[in-house]
Structures are given as structure tokens and as C-alpha cells.
């Protein structure tokens, strides 16, 4: 009997020793980019996970119960805000039964706070214009500068919730901003030859990148946000691109590649698949590598030297 008790004790102690050290803050985010920034800012004191995967359309994340379970014990939830996740978050957040991360609680963060929002509707919002975002374009994470705002915001939140490590969060956010500034210089240099060039994104989700790097949006493969293109529309768009000399169509892994390829082919240009979100394509493991791949893919397509399907 004694040996059995000893064995059980040893097993219990062994199991305890095998448990990894817990991070100070468990952070969940709606997007992979936000998880990447949160991990950088939080460092070893944070474990960050995203509910939406990088290759998943952030507008249409199925509100699986698994997501509720994943955030049942989270300390912080970072929403992308501007209603990008409003199709699924109102089910997932209450379903988690976690009072710490409900809107209004200390652990709920709207990452869009402080971001300069583009395409805010100036007149009334109507769904006759498609599935428009009434608070403005929510894809702000495609401007590297906006991620600096997010990093600073998260450092404040983490410091408030975990004051013991506040200095580290602040230093990490500063390091993030510095790294982003240095990277931005590199990306701006790579994109400089294409200033003023027009491109055709599949969805209206690229305006922040376009604005930052001096490109122009000629149109979208979707006739209106959320509305799939008809053959007639594809033809008209391709004709208009041909007339204006626009050659590049870009789309994300979760959009209809066939429609994008058809438009590019008929316009005599190229279509290029790019990741808007971290993890959307191979080699996009954090926000820095995402922009590396994005800039290189688009610069390649705009130069005519490389790119996707012709």
C-alpha cells in the first residue's frame, strides 16, 4: 500500500514538473496580425493566439463553439474593431462565459482605437452599396504605421493588467515601433518605383496599403463589397483595365481566385495571391515577414518580372 502511495505521489509530482510555466497573461485576438503584435509586445510574459487563421476570411469566421472554449480562460481579448469581426464575435465572446474579456471589462481591447481610419462614410450608410462597414474601412492592419499604434495601445493594456512587468511591455512596444520604422523604410524603397501605379484588389481591403505606398485603387473584382462578380462585370472591368493600362489584380487566399485570374487574363495583366493577414501564406509568420512577402509579391507583379497567373 505504501509503495502505491509513493508511486502516486511521484507520478503527481512528475506531472506537475512537466506542466510548462504559465505566462502572466493569456491573450486572444480576432486576427493573426494582432496576435503577432501582442506576442512581440508581451514577450515572455504573454501567450497570444488568434481565433481567425491567416488564410481565413476575417469577415466570415464560423462561430464554432471551439472558439468559445479557446477563450474561456483568456485574460485579454483584442478585437480588430470597426465591425470587421461583428459577424461572429457577438456569439463567441458571450459563449466563452469569461467575464474578464466581455466588452466594457478591463480585458477587452478594441485595437482600432487611436488608428487613423480611412473610408469613413460621410453620408448615410446603405446596403445598396454592398456590405459596407459603417465605421470606416477596418483593414487598417495593412498599414505598418497603424500596427505601431496597436503595439503602443497593447503595451498600455498589458501594463495595466500586469503592472509588475510594465517596464518590459513599454520597452517591447518601443522596440516594435523602431523595428517597424526601419522595415517601413526598406518597404518604401522597394515600392518607390511604383508610386502612382494602379492595382485592382479583389475586395475593398487594400486601401491602407495603397495609401501608405502611394498606389491607386483602379477598382475591385467585387462590384460591391461582399457581392460576387458576374461574368458581365468581369468583362467590363477587364476592358476598363486594358484601356487604362492597369495590369495587376491581387487577391487573398480566401477569395475567388478564378474570378481574379479571369479579370487579369482578359486585361492582359497578372493576378497575384497575397496574404493580407499573418499566416495567410507560407513565410508570413509575423507582421514583419508578412509585409516582406507582400511588398516583394506586389513589387514583382508591378514590375512585370514576376507575379501570379497571366
Amino acid at each position: 500500500m505504501k509503495s502505491l502511495i509513493r508511486f502516486a505521489l511521484a507520478l503527481g509530482l512528475g506531472a506537475l514538473a512537466a506542466v510548462p510555466a504559465f505566462a502572466d497573461l493569456k491573450v486572444a485576438t480576432s486576427l493573426t496580425d494582432l496576435a503577432s503584435v501582442a506576442q512581440f509586445v508581451g514577450g515572455k510574459h504573454v501567450t497570444a493566439q488568434s481565433l481567425c487563421r491567416g488564410y481565413e476570411d476575417p469577415h466570415f469566421v464560423p462561430a464554432k463553439p471551439r472558439l468559445m472554449k479557446a477563450i474561456q480562460h483568456a485574460d485579454v481579448f483584442v478585437s480588430v474593431g470597426l465591425e470587421l469581426d461583428s459577424g461572429w464575435l457577438p456569439l463567441v465572446l458571450p459563449g466563452s462565459r469569461n467575464p474578464k474579456i466581455q466588452p466594457g471589462a478591463k480585458g477587452f481591447v478594441d485595437a482600432s482605437e487611436g488608428v487613423h481610419v480611412l473610408e469613413k462614410p460621410t453620408a448615410g450608410v446603405s446596403r445598396a452599396a454592398g456590405d459596407v462597414h459603417p465605421l470606416g474601412n477596418p483593414h487598417y492592419y495593412l498599414d505598418p504605421k497603424n500596427l505601431e499604434v496597436v503595439a503602443d495601445h497593447l503595451a498600455e493594456v498589458f501594463s495595466r493588467l500586469d503592472p509588475a512587468n510594465a517596464a518590459e511591455y513599454s520597452a517591447n512596444a518601443k522596440a516594435f515601433d523602431e523595428k517597424m520604422e526601419a522595415s517601413l523604410e526598406k518597404w518604401e524603397t522597394a515600392m518607390a518605383p511604383y508610386k502612382g501605379a494602379a492595382i485592382v484588389p479583389y475586395h475593398k481591403n487594400f486601401i491602407y496599403f495603397i495609401d501608405r505606398f502611394g498606389l491607386k485603387e483602379f477598382g475591385n473584382v467585387e462590384p460591391k463589397p461582399g457581392i460576387p462578380p458576374s461574368p458581365h462585370y468581369i468583362n467590363d472591368l477587364a476592358e476598363a483595365m486594358k484601356k487604362s493600362g492597369v495590369k495587376v489584380v491581387e487577391y487573398q487566399p480566401y477569395y475567388n481566385a478564378d474570378a481574379s485570374n479571369q479579370v487579369a487574363k482578359r486585361a492582359g495583366g497578372v493576378s497575384v495571391e497575397v496574404a493580407s493577414e499573418v499566416g495567410g501564406m507560407p513565410g508570413t509568420d509575423d507582421v514583419f515577414s508578412k509585409f516582406d512577402v507582400l511588398v516583394s509579391s506586389l513589387a514583382g507583379a508591378l514590375s512585370g518580372k514576376s507575379g501570379g497567373q497571366r
Binding site: R53, Y55, E56, D57, H59, F60, V61, P62, A63, K64, P65, R66, M68, K69, Q72, G87, W88, P90, L91, P94, G95, S96, R97, N98, P99, Q102, P103, G104, A105, R127, G130, D131, G226, I227, P228, P253, Y254, N256
Partner: protein, 361 residues
């Protein structure tokens, strides 16, 4: 003089909105108004056994309101306007501040089964399975009460729900008799739901449900349910492709003198397939025993019970998230009544405006 009067009148008219704002805004604000949405359903059907008017008909309009009450509660209301009634289908508050537990109280749609949790415009087929109306209600079990849903500490999604409801007798939309007025008659519900990820895209959900209370005859009346759903949503095309395979069994019965008698039972199995962003197709087979349905009548036109097998196919077109049109055909066979078979063709249209909360996965 006329010009001066006109100028004064114009100035007054210009000032009215400013005055109104100045007077009302310090006291009354609409900034915390609830999110409001409305859905309307229209349909038309052709069925040779039905003695009713043909043509397009208005089925219902549902107004939904949802808002945060305070740091502890969220409020939701669904008021349904149908041609012959106005039904406060759901009016409830839900707790937001209790770890791992969610309390819900008010007029509820009881957490029973799978199909019974759906709003009419979210039904996968125009017609609800026949067994629904014969066991817990065509649109599920709806009653005033309170539920507690506990998210268990198991590593997968595992939810245990318990509920108690007002004692109400059976009526047109509620086939369960819980109408005993004895003080110890508290109809109660139990529901256990588990969901597992089979892979990146596919989930398996298994649910069991129980609903029990005492009837006006002082006997125990109960409903039992079991459901299995396998759902596939490819993450790279969540808005374009996917399928749902779902099956559910329901039974209603009563216990008198120590012996249980099964009254009505049946089930269905359905498969829905998403062809593209805008096109869905579906097929369903079902059986309902000792059940009533609209074409099951005797030669005097009175409703009678029988065994009914029904097969349905449909195709849906959803040009946007906010509207759809569905075309559906069903063929039924019955072992009683003057119509051994029934064929019908249906069309249904749904339109939504304003805020509409996402449907449960």
C-alpha cells in the same frame, strides 16, 4: 408685412431643430439605443391536397432588438408579427459576469435539440420536419423560464444546460402538456452538447435533450431528443463552400400508472451542400409516427394521426447575406387518411434589414 411674417416664420422653422436638440439632448439620448433588425419571410406553395388559397403569402416579420443592459446583463427580444398574431417569441436577459456559467431568463426558446433552436428564417428547408410540431413545437419549445448553461472544464466544447419553465398546457403551437397547477409541477429541461474538431474544416456535434413536466391530467409528460451534426467549412473558402450532414430523433410520451407510453416520435436526416457563395442545395428524408400534419385528414376533413414519410429537395440562391430565395419540392406518403401521398412545390423569400445577429454555428 407679408415679407416680414414670412422671414419670421422661416427663422422660427430654422431654429426649431436647434431648440429641440438643446432641449432634449441633456435629458434624453439615443446613443444607447438597442441594435435593431427586421426580417420578413414570404412564401408561396402549390399542393393538390390542400384546400387553401394559392399565391404569394406573407408568413411573418420578426423584429429583433439587442443591447447591453448593464455590466451584468445583455437583453434580446424577438417580436414576431404573423398574419393572425403578434408573438413575443423571445424576450430574455443573459448574464455576462459569471465565469463558465451563463444564466438566461425570460421568454425563452428552450435549449432542446438542434432544429428547435432555429428561427423560422434560418430553417434549412421551407417546411420544418413533421416530428417537430408533434413533439416540442414546430419552432421549438418556447416558454417563460430560466436556464443555466455551464461550459464544463473538459478540453473540448462541452456544455451542460439545465432549465425550469412556467407550467403551461398544450396549445396550437406547443404540443407538450405541462399544465398541472399543482405547486410541485416545475417543468424542467436538460441538454448536453459536445462538439469536437475532426480536422481543420470539419466538426462533429452530438447533443441529447430531455424536457419533462406534469400535465393537466397529472401524469408525467416528456420529450426526448438526440442529434448528430457533422459540418464542414473549409477555412480557405468559408464563404463559398461547405456542407452540413445532420440527423435528429425526437420522441414525446407520457407516464401513467408507472408505465411509459410513447405518443409521437420520428426523425430526419438532411444534407446541405454549398456550391458557391450564392448557391446552396439540400436534401432531407424524414419519418414521423402517430403524427399529425396538414394533409393527413379523414373523409370529413378532420385531422388524424398516422405514419408519414417525406422527402424534400431544395435549392437556395443567396445574392447577399441579407436576402435569399428558395425553391423546394417535397413528396410525402402516409399510412392513414384520404390522401395516401402529397406533393408540393414551394418558394420562399427572406429579406433582412438593420442589425441581425449571427446564427449559432
Amino acid at each position: 408685412m407679408k415679407l416680414r411674417t414670412f422671414a419670421c416664420l422661416s427663422a422660427a422653422l430654422v431654429c426649431i431643430p436647434a431648440l429641440a436638440t438643446a432641449q432634449t439632448s441633456p435629458m434624453f439620448s439615443n446613443l444607447a439605443n438597442p441594435a435593431i433588425g427586421m426580417n420578413a419571410l414570404f412564401s408561396g406553395q402549390g399542393a393538390h391536397n390542400l384546400d387553401g388559397a394559392y399565391g404569394l403569402q406573407f408568413d411573418e416579420a420578426e423584429i429583433s432588438l439587442i443591447s447591453v443592459v448593464d455590466p451584468y446583463w445583455t437583453f434580446a427580444g424577438n417580436i414576431v408579427f404573423a398574419p393572425e398574431e403578434v408573438d413575443p417569441e423571445e424576450v430574455w436577459v443573459r448574464s455576462t459576469s459569471i465565469p463558465s456559467l451563463q444564466l438566461k431568463l425570460g421568454k425563452l426558446r428552450g435549449t432542446f435539440g438542434k432544429h428547435g433552436l432555429l428561427h423560422t428564417h434560418a430553417f434549412p428547408f421551407v417546411q420544418a420536419p413533421i416530428v417537430m410540431a408533434n413533439t416540442i413545437g414546430e419552432e421549438g419549445f418556447k416558454d417563460a423560464g430560466a436556464e443555466a448553461a455551464w461550459l464544463t472544464p473538459l478540453p473540448w466544447f462541452s456544455e451542460l444546460t439545465g432549465g425550469v419553465y412556467q407550467a403551461i398546457p398544450a396549445d396550437g403551437g406547443q404540443p407538450l402538456d405541462f399544465g398541472s397547477t399543482q405547486h410541485d409541477n416545475v417543468p424542467f429541461l436538460g441538454h448536453f452538447k459536445n462538439q469536437f474538431d475532426l480536422n481543420d474544416a470539419t466538426t462533429l456535434e452530438i447533443g441529447q435533450s430531455l424536457l419533462q413536466g406534469r400535465g393537466t391530467d397529472e401524469h408525467r409528460h416528456a420529450a426526448y431528443g438526440a442529434d448528430v451534426t457533422v459540418r464542414n467549412v473549409p477555412p480557405r473558402s468559408s464563404n463559398q463552400h461547405g456542407w452540413i450532414l445532420q440527423s435528429e430523433y425526437l420522441q414525446k410520451g407520457s407516464r401513467a400508472g408507472g408505465s411509459y407510453a410513447r405518443e409521437q416520435d420520428g426523425g430526419y436526416a438532411s444534407f446541405q451542400y454549398r456550391l458557391s457563395q450564392v448557391w446552396w442545395v439540400g436534401i432531407r428524408g424524414e419519418q414521423a409516427r402517430k403524427s399529425f400534419t396538414d394533409f393527413l385528414v379523414d373523409d370529413t376533413g378532420a385531422s388524424i394521426a398516422g405514419k408519414v414519410n417525406r422527402g424534400s429537395v431544395n435549392v437556395g440562391w443567396t445574392p447577399s447575406e441579407f436576402s435569399f430565395v428558395r425553391l423546394e419540392y417535397s413528396h410525402s406518403k402516409a399510412d392513414a387518411g384520404v390522401h395516401p401521398t402529397d406533393d408540393r412545390l414551394m418558394i420562399q423569400m427572406s429579406y433582412t434589414i438593420g442589425y441581425h445577429p449571427a446564427h449559432a454555428y
